[in-house]
């Protein structure tokens, strides 16, 4: 039977196309996060991995307290909560940047996505959603393990929910903006991108008050930490959960509202910078013919 492939023309609005792009890329991201093994193994992996990570913290705290002779449980809560929420930085920020590398080099689909009429930013944001969901699951598992097994004093009633939800939304927005900036740089790099991600993770881990308070850094380190939105995001998370808050002398004099204001302003500034970097990376990659680069590095 002869088949005519002259299909009825569809000309959806840019808005509908971007929504469709967001939905399908979020679905793709979820498939890639979850569909690489059978559901049972995926569930076990998703539970065991964050718990193993939190056990490392227990050992770290035990060593620090033994060496320093400081058994203040607030220090443990500080470390635990900061590390737990830092997972968003590790997973979401670098997950976003990794999308460019994966699609271009591994799946070789980036050029076909790029020449489609969809907005590439919509695609990237959609792909990031799955990272967000998986990371949120890991954070919940870790916090639950901390509460029930490690004695973290947190209950649903002790949380300042309005502050927590607002801070989470702004923080995740900020982390995704950082991811887009890295994705812009990833347009121009190949395997180097892995090293770049690790380096930036190290900077955030060191300066943003994840393992130890910012006040323990030298003066220039404190100054640097105070321009990074992640520093304020983690501090506000600790304050909203009332765990390890007030321990950091560098931030103790800054009220919650001021912290929140600094977080909002720095997030806006970093988002604008991230969009500029993303756009610049995109343009330079198109000038140099890197959109479909496969290096096999």
């Amino acid at each position: 039977m002869a088949v005519n492939t002259a299909f009825r023309n569809h000309n959806p609005s840019a808005r509908k196309r971007n929504i469709d792009t967001f939905k399908c890329s979020a679905w793709l991201g979820w498939q890639m996060e979850s569909n690489w093994t059978d559901p049972f193994l995926f569930a076990v992996y998703s539970i065991v991995k964050p718990i193993a990570g939190s056990l490392i913290l227990v050992v770290m705290y035990a060593i620090i307290s033994a060496i320093g002779g400081n058994n203040d449980p607030q220090m443990f809560y500080y470390m635990f909560v900061s590390n737990c929420f830092f997972m968003y930085v590790g997973q979401v920020l670098f997950g976003v940047a990794q999308i460019v590398h994966d699609d271009r080099e591994h799946f070789q689909t980036m050029k076909y996505i790029y020449i489609s009429p969809s907005n590439y930013l919509s695609y990237m944001i959609g792909r990031s959603v799955s990272k967000l969901i998986v990371t949120t699951f890991a954070v919940v598992i870790t916090m639950a393990f901390g509460i029930f097994m490690l004695g973290i004093p947190l209950s649903l009633f002790s949380i300042n929910w309005p502050l927590f939800l607002v801070v989470m939304a702004i923080g995740i927005f900020c982390i995704m903006a950082f991811g887009l900036a890295l994705a812009g740089v990833s347009f121009l790099t190949a395997k180097h991108q892995g090293g770049m991600n690790e380096g930036i993770a190290g900077v955030f881990y060191l300066f943003c008050g994840v393992v130890f308070p910012v006040s323990t850094l030298p003066a220039w380190g404190v100054a640097f930490a105070k321009v990074l939105p992640i520093t304020y995001w983690l501090e506000l998370i600790r304050r909203s959960l009332d765990l390890g808050a007030g321990l950091d002398q560098a931030l103790v004099g800054t009220s919650t509202m001021v912290c929140l204001l600094i977080l909002v302003v720095s997030t806006i500034v970093f988002t604008v910078i991230a969009l500029i970097i993303f756009k610049a990376g995109d343009t330079v990659a198109r000038q140099k013919g890197l959109i479909d680069m496969t290096t096999a590095y």
């Binding site: 196309r17 050029k111 996505i113 198109r286 013919g289």
Partner: protein, 305 residues
């Protein structure tokens, strides 16, 4: 280094236009510019009336591209899921996308693999799936970059037949095809541009291109395999000469474009001197390959002479 230099081409609506050239000639660079993947360093390129630098979104709504010889796709997804995913980037409703996918898969005899994971497909089947992805959006203009590269004879023929049918169904459809295969260009293209070192050497219909060397006699000589063919190079009356070893049959195919048919006797006489013997002799009409060899100075599959 310039990948393209002074390229000036106009492709008409409804035309199946071929780009012929050796590796590194600039074919893919040209396609990348027209597909909005690469910005030109100078000059102007318009696709469907839109500027490739300033009006990318208008272009992207109406084009698509398929590259051959690659293994693109998300291995975790099924073939249908992969192609559906791309349909969403064009805003095609799921029901309509599924209808198109099924129709095109039947056309390309891939329907039995609809629910197979992409990672399980052979190179040929992946290429067919890639074709479905490209054609599913029903573009006004499609770029096919060596679509039959690495495919077996049957799969190549199926794709060529599909291309012909697709073009014939709607007179406004336009296609830019790059290929290494002269026969493919001869069979499919309304017009062909021969490109080498970033320059367009000739652009016309295959018939007119062949007329460029119409007066030339072409002699094909199959001889028992020899290691040294330099003796054939400087025979008087030979304008161009290419050779191709066939390891499977143990023969060497010599091809001469003659200025003077009297050279045939000298060529035949040179065979035993080279330590070989003639297996077959054929005098042929010019092909696109002959045109290519005349213009470029070498064939696509053999050594420069």
């Amino acid at each position: 280094m310039k990948a393209l230099n002074d390229v000036n081409l106009t492709i008409n609506e409804g035309e199946l236009f071929g780009l012929l050239g050796p590796n590194g000639a600039g074919k893919t660079t040209l396609i990348k510019i027209l597909c909005t993947l690469l910005l030109p360093t100078s000059g102007e390129a318009k696709v469907l009336g839109y500027d490739v630098q300033k009006e990318t979104n208008s272009i992207r709504q109406k084009i698509n591209m398929v590259s051959g010889g690659e293994t693109s796709g998300y291995g975790l997804l099924t073939v249908r899921e992969n192609i559906w995913l791309f349909s969403q980037l064009y805003g095609i409703p799921t029901k309509e996308a599924n209808r198109r996918i099924e129709m095109l898969m039947k056309e390309l005899k891939l329907e039995h693999k609809m629910n197979s994971k992409v990672r399980t497909l052979s190179t040929g089947l992946r290429q067919k799936a890639n074709m479905v992805r490209g054609f599913m959006t029903d573009p006004d203009l499609i770029f096919l970059d060596e679509p039959t590269l690495g495919l077996d004879v049957n799969a190549s023929r199926l794709i060529r037949d599909f291309i012909k049918k697709w073009m014939s169904e709607k007179p406004t459809r336009t296609m830019l095809l790059t290929t290494h295969y002269m026969v493919e260009a001869d069979e499919l293209c309304d017009r062909v541009a021969i490109i080498n070192d970033g320059r367009v050497l000739a652009c016309d219909t295959p018939q007119n291109l062949k007329r460029l060397i119409h007066q030339d006699a072409v002699l094909k000589l199959e001889i028992k395999q020899v290691a040294e063919v330099s003796a054939f190079r400087n025979i008087p009356g030979v304008r161009n000469f290419t050779h191709d070893q066939n390891i499977a049959t143990g023969t060497t195919m010599l091809k001469f474009i003659l200025d003077d048919e009297a050279a045939v006797a000298d060529i035949v006489a040179a065979v035993p001197k080279s330590g070989s013997r003639i297996v077959s002799v054929e005098k042929t009409e010019p092909t696109l390959e002959d045109v290519f060899v005349t213009l470029v100075g070498r064939g696509l599959t053999n050594h420069e002479v």
